[in-house]
């Protein structure tokens, strides 16, 4: 399956989804980006350069780990995990960011901007900018700045300027709007490092391309570990959808069931979650440069979203998934905040892994389905990020009394 040949339709479209809905002022900039990316994509030495960079800088290939304790306890399928948490900066975000850094170099631009929700993409972008010598500005909703201070700390110390966005809901979507505003003013020297497989063409294609390194490795690794077998099911969490696109691309042509796990938040109901496809509250719209399913009202204004995981807390889903969902190729499920909290505790205690709250959504659905599967069946989960960097959020999510005590004492120390 080649989603990106656009032979049967218009460039940048996946069925009826995708496209490029941008202010006219960006037309030339996006054309230039498209041309540069497609040139790189055709050039085998570009991918080799990218892979080399990821090996040396980010510790790739990341391993696939077998989880014998959890598999045994659940009594069903054998569970394996692709360890994107072991990347430098702690998540899969670095795959996309380093790739776009190479593109930015080829474009001859000296400045990068990026939006960030949980802060992982901003953190990765600040890291890339430091390594490549770019000026870097990160836009982050004020609400997210407040709940993700450790990531803001690292971004600033890596040399990036972090702007707390005061508009709208003051979260990820508002940070994206602010990036657009910066980009329409500074496109001549600035590349916009969009963090997920959303936004206008060519971003969904480009982000998917760099993230495909996950699936390529995972396909090879799982076969090595299981004597040539492929997984029966692959689970990945879906906010914008870049980590899921990354791992799923390794299995599109195989008889493997692919399950995208969205943020169920407080459960179904307008404004209570960020599940665009698993629940039936979203509808097709055009915003932030592309056409897809958005959580919006009848007038086309976006709704509030809710999730324990800031990285999944987004109004729209990547257009490729909207299409693959319609085609029945990817199934979508939602995990609620409560399920995520319970699953995180289970995974930590049985296997010593600490998945990010985002990734724990994928674990939650795998844990639910594994017992119903046979012992000879195989599940692969994408652990897109590590949870220990989220210690403040996780401690709150788990309502940890000892941690609260520690923070109070620390605050008292600062005040004295």
């Amino acid at each position: 399956m080649d989603l990106f040949d656009f032979k049967d339709g218009r460039e940048g479209y996946y069925g009826q989804f995708g496209g490029s809905f941008l202010p006219e002022i960006l037309t030339a900039t996006v054309e230039e980006l498209k041309a540069c990316f497609h040139e790189c994509k055709k050039d085998p030495s570009f991918w080799a350069e990218y892979e080399q960079l990821m090996h040396q800088y980010s510790g790739r290939p990341t391993p696939v780990t077998y989880l014998p304790n959890l598999s045994k306890q659940l009594g069903g399928a054998q569970i394996y995990v692709k360890r994107e948490d072991l990347n430098h900066t702690g998540s899969h975000k670095i795959n996309n960011v380093m790739g776009q850094g190479l593109i930015c170099q080829r474009l001859g631009k000296k400045r990068v901007i990026a939006e960030t929700g949980a802060g992982q993409h901003g953190f990765a972008t600040a890291t890339m900018a430091a390594k490549f010598g770019f000026d870097c500005k990160i836009y982050m909703g004020e609400v997210d700045v407040k709940r993700q201070r450790p990531n803001v700390f690292w971004m600033e110390n890596l040399g990036a300027e972090v702007v707390a966005v005061q508009d709208g809901q003051r979260t990820l979507k508002d940070a994206i709007n602010e990036c657009m505003r910066d980009w329409v003013s500074n496109m001549a020297d600035t590349h916009y490092v969009l963090g997920t497989a959303c936004g206008p063409h060519p971003f969904p294609e480009m982000v998917s391309y760099f993230q495909s390194i996950i699936g390529m490795e995972a396909n090879r690794q799982i076969k090595e570990l299981t004597g040539g077998r492929l997984p029966d099911k692959v689970f990945a969490c879906v906010g914008g959808g870049s980590n899921a696109m990354g791992i799923f691309q390794g299995f599109f042509d195989d008889d493997v069931e692919l399950i995208g796990c969205e943020a169920g938040g407080l459960g179904p109901g307008l404004g209570k979650h960020a599940a665009r496809l698993a629940y039936s509250d979203a509808s097709v719209g055009v915003a932030q440069g592309f056409k897809t399913f958005f959580l919006q009202n009848d007038d086309g204004n976006m709704l509030e979203t809710q999730s324990v995981a800031a990285g999944l807390d987004y109004i729209g889903i990547n257009p490729i998934f909207a299409y693959l969902w319609e085609q029945g190729r990817v199934r979508f499920e939602a995990a609620t905040n409560e399920e995520v909290r319970e699953t995180l505790k289970l995974v930590m205690k049985t296997e010593g892994l600490i998945p990010a709250l985002e990734s724990t959504h994928a674990f939650a659905k795998a844990v639910e389905e594994a017992p119903k599967m046979g012992k000879d069946e195989i599940i692969l989960i994408n652990q897109s990020g590590r949870g220990d960097k989220d210690i403040f959020t996780v401690a709150d999510a788990l309502d940890d009394a000892h941690w609260r005590e520690f923070i109070k004492e620390k605050a008292a120390q600062y005040e004295s």
């Binding site: 037309t27 508009d167 505003r181 055009v286 056409k291 007038d299 086309g300």
Partner: protein, 255 residues
């Protein structure tokens, strides 16, 4: 009378023509009406009624705030069309719907065109709808005799401007500079060159916007364009001095 004839007729009275802007429901529909009374008294030729959207990514800080507060206070698309109907009945200036494409997409192209026509609008400006995506909407507009106002920008190549020109009718919106709405534009040689390129690309009237705020800007547009588009500066004047502030602002523009 066709929009083309309207523009010609008004041009005979005063150049440049003037287009102003209000964000529906901000601060309130009552205040919008007061703003429009003053704009009408100063002889504006066109008014954009912006339908507020939750993600106004092409707007600058003041219009972002206006969009947001209007959405938050519960302004609906239906109310905006009702307001437009009231406005077109009451005043002689022409009214354009301005907004983001999702407002139109969500209600359906047919329905959008029908409602706009019924409300007495003469066209629409959707800055995030590129011409590549606009075939169906433009065809429906033609049947309904509504004008889609296309944007031309300084970063466009001559070839692209020619494409935009070919898709245009009656008037185009020339964006005088990069950036979002509301910051000051220096009307200099660069802008002149850009407007000359626009003129090459199309025969229709050139509206010039982004940062128009002083008499010099109006005089400049009289020379190099056809319609001065005043957005943020008028809202700023209203925010500072309400009726009196807006009135004095238009006076300062020589209108």
């Amino acid at each position: 009378m066709s929009l083309k004839d309207y523009i010609a007729e008004r041009k005979a009275i005063r150049t440049p023509l003037v287009m102003t802007h209000v964000v529906c429901g901000y601060p309130s529909f009552e205040d919008n009406m007061k703003e429009l009374e003053i704009m009408n008294a100063h002889g504006v030729d066109f008014v954009e009624l912006q339908f507020p959207f939750s993600e106004p990514s092409a707007d600058g800080p003041l219009f972002v705030k206006a969009n947001q507060e209007s959405v938050d206070s519960g302004t609906t698309v239906a109310q905006c069309f009702d307001f437009m109907a009231e406005v077109t009945k009451r005043f002689d200036f022409k009214v354009l719907m301005m907004g983001y494409y999702n407002t139109c997409f969500k209600m359906g192209h047919d329905n959008f065109i029908k409602r706009l026509k019924e409300a007495g609008g003469c066209g629409y400006i959707l800055p995030d709808l590129p011409i590549e995506e606009a075939d169906e909407l433009h065809a429906l507009s033609k049947q309904a005799d509504l004008t889609p106002v296309i944007l031309m920008t300084p970063t466009n190549t001559d070839a692209r401007l020619a494409q935009l020109g070919a898709a245009s009718q009656d008037l185009v919106y020339c964006v005088a500079r990069k950036g979002v709405t509301g910051s000051k534009t220096e009307m200099n040689q660069e802008v002149i060159t850009f407007l000359e390129r626009c003129r090459q690309a199309t025969d229709v009237a050139l509206g010039v916007g982004f940062g128009v705020s002083a008499k010099e800007d109006i005089d400049f547009i009289a020379e190099y364009g056809d319609i001065a588009i005043i957005g943020t500066a008028a809202l700023k004047a209203w925010e500072v001095g309400r009726e009196e502030g807006l009135h004095r602002f238009f006076e300062s523009l020589g209108l």
